[in-house]
C-alpha cells in the first residue's frame, strides 16, 4: 500500500516539475513585464516584481510601436484566411468524398504527395509572384498563397467519408441537390472536424512569422509576430518593455487556448501535424 502512495507522490512531483518547466517562461514573461528597468538589471534576477500593477512598460510599448495596427492586421488576415480556407476546403472535401469523377482517388493520392514539399521551396516563387502581381507589401500577400490547404482537405474528406451514403440518397429522393445537401446536412454533421480545422488554421495564421517577414515591408501592414520582432530589434535592450510587448502578443492565443483546449488538443492529435 505504501508503495502505491510513494509512486503516486513521485508521479505528482514529476508532473508538477514538468508543468513548472513548461509554464515558467510565461510566468517570467508576465512578471518581467511589470518590472522597472532597475529591477530587471539585477543579478540574481528577482522572482516577483515590486509592483504587480506597474503598467508603465505596456504603455511605453503601445506608444513606441503601432501594436494596435499590428493587432488589427493580424485579425483581418486571420479571419479572411480562415473564411477562404473553410470555403475551398469544404467544397474540395465534398468533391473528393461524395462526388464521383474519373481519376478521383488517383488525383487525391497525388495531392497528398504534394504535402511533402516544404514551404521553404515554394517560398521563392511565391515571393516573386507576389512582387510581380504588385501584391508585395499588402495584406493580400498574407492571405492569397494559403487559400488551399491539402492537409485540412484531407482531414475533412476523411470525416465526410464516414457520413453514411443513405443520408445522401434519401436527400436525393427528396429532391435536394448537391449544394444544399452539402451545406444543410454534411456541414452541420461535420462541425467538430470543422472547428478543429478552424482552430488550427487560426493559430497558424496568427502565429506566422516567416512569410510576413518576407513579403511585408511597411509597418502599416505588419502582423503581430513580425511587428513584435521589428519592435525588439529596434528598441535595443529595454527588456522589460520587450517582455510587455511579448505578453500583449501572446495574450489572445492564450485566452483562446484556455477556452478551446479540448478542441485544440483533439484536433492536433487527429491531424498529427502542428498548427
Amino acid at each position: 500500500m505504501t508503495r502505491r502512495i510513494v509512486f503516486r507522490t513521485l508521479l505528482y512531483i514529476a508532473l508538477f516539475i514538468g508543468a513548472v518547466v513548461m509554464v515558467f517562461p510565461f510566468y517570467w514573461m508576465i512578471s518581467s513585464s511589470f518590472k522597472t528597468a532597475a529591477e530587471m538589471n539585477v543579478f540574481p534576477p528577482r522572482m516577483v516584481p515590486n509592483n504587480w500593477l506597474n503598467f508603465d512598460n505596456y504603455v511605453e510599448a503601445w506608444h513606441t510601436a503601432p501594436f494596435a495596427t499590428y493587432f488589427v492586421n493580424s485579425i483581418v488576415v486571420c479571419v479572411s484566411s480562415v473564411a477562404v480556407v473553410m470555403f475551398t476546403t469544404i467544397l474540395a472535401a465534398f468533391a473528393f468524398s461524395r462526388l464521383n469523377f474519373p481519376g478521383r482517388d488517383l488525383l487525391f493520392t497525388l495531392l497528398l504527395s504534394l504535402m511533402m514539399i516544404p514551404f521553404e521551396l515554394l517560398v521563392i516563387t511565391n515571393y516573386q509572384t507576389m512582387v510581380r502581381t504588385g501584391l508585395y507589401d499588402t495584406l493580400y500577400a498574407l492571405v492569397l498563397p494559403f487559400t488551399s490547404s491539402i492537409f485540412y482537405t484531407y482531414i475533412l474528406r476523411n470525416f465526410f467519408l464516414s457520413i453514411p451514403d443513405s443520408l445522401y440518397y434519401s436527400a436525393q429522393v427528396d429532391g435536394s441537390g448537391n449544394w444544399s445537401y452539402l451545406w444543410k446536412v454534411m456541414v452541420p454533421i461535420a462541425r467538430p472536424s470543422l472547428v478543429t480545422i478552424l482552430l488550427l488554421n487560426a493559430m497558424a495564421s496568427w502565429n506566422s512569422f516567416m512569410w510576413p517577414k518576407l513579403v511585408i515591408a511597411h509597418d502599416e501592414f505588419r502582423t503581430l509576430p513580425y511587428g513584435l520582432f521589428t519592435f525588439t530589434t529596434e528598441s535595443g535592450s529595454h527588456n522589460e518593455i520587450i517582455m510587455a510587448a511579448a505578453t500583449l502578443v501572446v495574450m489572445p492565443m492564450l485566452i483562446l487556448f484556455l477556452f478551446a483546449r479540448k478542441q485544440i488538443v483533439r484536433g492536433v492529435a487527429r491531424g498529427g501535424i502542428k498548427g
Partner: protein, 518 residues
C-alpha cells in the same frame, strides 16, 4: 409516370452558366493578354531607341575618326581632327536622337552625322591640304561606312527583344507590370477558356435534354474543385516546377526590382551552394551542419522526454485538465514572443539560467550563452529551446497514442502478475511504437526547417554567431540583393533541403519497419 423533372433543369442551368462564364472570363483574359502584349511591344520599341541612338553615335564617331586619321601620319593633325570630333559630339548626339525619334532611317542619320563631324574637323584644320585629303577620303568611304555602321547598329538593336525587356524591366517603375509580365499566360488562359466555352456549346447543340443534363452532372465536380485547385496550381505546383528549374539557372538576378534574368544554364548554383568559393566559408554547409546537429539531438531527446511525460499524464490523476493546460501552452503561443523570453532568460548578466547555475554551484562563471565563442554553447541554447518548444505537440500525439491502447491488455497483464516496468516495455512501448515512429518523422521534418528560433534568439542576425540554418540561408538569399546572393542559390539550397528531408524520411521509414509494431 411523373419523371423527376427537377434534375435535368439543374444540369441545364449549369451548362449554360459555364458556357457564358467561360466565354466572358476567356474574353477578359485574352483582352488583357493582348493589351499586355501591346504594352510589351511598345516598351520594347522605347527601349530600343536609346540603344539605337547610342550605337549609331558611337559607331559613326569611331569609324569616321579612324578613316580620317588614316589620311595622315602627322600626330598634330590627328589630334586636331580629334578635337573637331569632340567639339561636335554633343550636337551630333542630339541630332541623332531627334532624327531617330522622328523616324529617320539609318542612312539619313549617318550621313547627317558624318556631315556635322566633317564640319567640326574643317573648323579645326582650316583650309588646306590636310582638309582636302580628309574630305576626299570621306567621300570615297561614305557608302561603305553607312552600311557598316547600320549593320552593327541593327545588331545591337536586335538584341533587345520583348523577352529581354520583359526580364529586365523594373517592378517599381513600370506601370501595368503584372499585365505585361504575364501577358503570355493570360493569353493562354483566355484562349483556353474560350475554347472550353466553344466545346461546351458544340456539345450542347449535339445533345438532347437528357444529354445536356448529364453534361451538367459531369461538370459539377469540377465546380467544387475549382477554388481549391486554383490555389494549389498557382502556389504549390507552379512554384515547385519553377524553383526546380530556377536551381539550374545561373546568376539569377534578384526579382524585387529587376525581374528574373539569368546568364546560363548549369550546375553553378549547386556548386556554389555545396562547395562554396575557395577561401571563403561555405555558409550553406555551416547552416547544414547546424541544422543536422539540431535535428539529430533535438528530435530523440524530445521524443524520449515526451514518452515519459505522456505516460505520466496518462495515469489516473486529478487535475488532469490543469496539467494538460500547463503542458500544452507553448504550442499555441507565438514562437516569436516565446523566443524573446528565452533570449532574456539566457542573458549573460541578468538571465535566469545563469542565476540557476549560480544557485546550484556558486563558484562557476556566468556563461555568455548567446554570444559565446564556443559554438557548442550556442548550439546548446538552440537545442534546449528546441526541445522545450517541441514537447507539447509531441506529448499530445503520444498521449493520444497511449489512450488508443486497449485497457484490457493491461488488465490481463496485471492478472498474470507482471510488474509495471515489464508492462511498460513489453506492452506499452510496442503498441506505442507506431506513434513514436510517426512523431520521429514529423518532428525531424519540421526540425530540418528551423528558422524562427535562430532569428529570434540571435536578434535577426544568426550569421554573426555562426548559427545559420538551411532555411535561414534560403531566406537570406531571397532578400539580400548583392553580388554574393541570388535566387538561384536559394533555389538550389531549397532543392538540396528537399532531397535531404526526403531521403532522411525514407531511411527512417525503412528502419521503422524493423521496430515498429505493425
Amino acid at each position: 409516370m411523373t419523371s423527376l423533372k427537377k434534375k435535368p433543369r439543374r444540369g441545364l442551368k449549369r451548362v449554360i452558366a459555364h458556357i457564358a462564364l467561360f466565354a466572358l472570363i476567356g474574353l477578359l483574359a485574352t483582352g488583357l493578354g493582348v493589351y499586355g502584349n501591346a504594352l510589351m511591344n511598345k516598351a520594347t520599341g522605347n527601349a530600343r531607341i536609346p540603344t539605337r541612338v547610342d550605337a549609331l553615335h558611337k559607331e559613326t564617331e569611331n569609324l569616321l575618326k579612324a578613316e580620317m586619321h588614316a589620311t595622315t601620319t602627322d600626330a598634330k593633325l590627328q589630334s586636331q581632327m580629334t578635337n573637331g570630333f569632340s567639339a561636335k559630339r554633343k550636337s551630333v548626339k542630339n541630332a541623332i536622337d531627334e532624327m531617330a525619334r522622328s523616324g529617320a532611317d539609318d542612312r539619313e542619320i549617318i550621313l547627317s552625322a558624318i556631315g556635322t563631324y566633317v564640319e567640326g574637323v574643317k573648323g579645326k584644320l582650316g583650309e588646306g591640304e590636310a582638309l582636302t585629303a580628309v574630305v576626299e577620303r570621306v567621300e570615297s568611304v561614305k557608302e561603305a561606312l553607312v552600311s557598316k555602321i547600320s549593320e552593327s547598329t541593327n545588331e545591337a538593336v536586335d538584341a533587345i527583344t520583348p523577352k529581354s525587356v520583359r526580364l529586365s524591366m523594373s517592378v517599381s517603375t513600370t506601370e501595368n507590370y503584372a499585365v505585361m509580365y504575364y501577358h503570355t499566360a493570360l493569353l493562354w488562359i483566355g484562349v483556353g477558356l474560350i475554347a472550353l466555352s466553344a466545346l461546351l456549346t458544340v456539345l450542347w447543340f449535339t445533345r438532347d435534354e437528357e444529354g445536356r443534363a448529364r453534361l451538367g452532372a459531369i461538370i459539377e465536380p469540377f465546380d467544387y474543385l475549382l477554388p481549391f485547385f486554383v490555389g494549389v496550381a498557382i502556389f504549390t505546383v507552379y512554384p515547385m516546377a519553377r524553383v526546380a528549374v530556377m536551381s539550374f539557372q545561373e546568376k539569377y538576378k534578384l526579382g524585387r526590382n529587376a525581374a528574373g534574368d539569368f546568364v546560363k544554364w548549369g550546375l553553378g548554383n549547386y556548386k556554389f551552394v555545396l562547395f562554396g568559393v575557395e577561401g571563403t566559408t561555405n555558409v550553406f554547409m555551416r547552416g547544414l551542419r547546424n541544422t543536422a546537429i539540431y535535428v539529430l539531438i533535438t528530435v530523440p531527446i524530445s521524443a524520449a522526454l515526451s514518452i515519459l511525460m505522456a505516460y505520466l499524464l496518462n495515469q489516473k490523476i486529478k487535475f488532469n485538465g490543469l496539467f494538460q493546460t500547463a503542458y500544452f501552452i507553448p504550442m499555441v503561443t507565438t514562437a516569436t514572443a516565446v523566443g524573446l523570453v528565452w533570449r532574456w532568460m539566457f542573458n549573460e548578466n541578468f538571465g535566469l539560467i545563469n542565476a540557476l547555475i549560480q544557485f546550484i554551484s556558486p563558484t562557476s562563471q556566468p556563461i555568455n550563452w548567446l554570444q559565446s565563442s564556443n559554438h557548442a554553447v550556442s548550439m546548446a541554447v538552440l537545442v534546449i529551446y528546441g526541445v522545450w518548444s517541441s514537447l507539447p505537440f509531441t506529448i499530445i500525439l503520444l498521449l493520444s497514442g497511449l489512450q488508443n491502447i486497449d485497457d484490457h491488455l493491461y488488465t490481463v497483464a496485471k492478472v498474470d502478475g507482471s510488474g509495471a516496468s515489464r508492462i511498460f516495455f513489453r506492452i506499452t512501448v510496442p503498441l506505442l511504437s507506431p506513434t513514436i515512429g510517426l512523431v520521429l518523422i514529423i518532428n525531424s521534418i519540421s526540425a530540418f526547417k528551423v528558422y524562427t528560433d535562430v532569428v529570434v534568439l540571435w536578434n535577426g542576425s544568426p550569421e554573426g554567431y555562426a548559427m545559420e540554418t538551411v532555411a535561414w540561408y534560403i531566406y537570406n538569399n531571397i532578400t539580400t540583393s548583392d553580388g554574393t546572393h541570388s535566387l538561384g542559390y536559394a533555389a538550389a539550397a531549397a532543392m538540396v533541403l528537399f532531397v535531404i528531408i526526403f531521403i532522411f524520411t525514407m531511411i527512417q521509414k525503412y528502419i521503422q519497419r524493423k521496430w515498429v509494431y505493425q
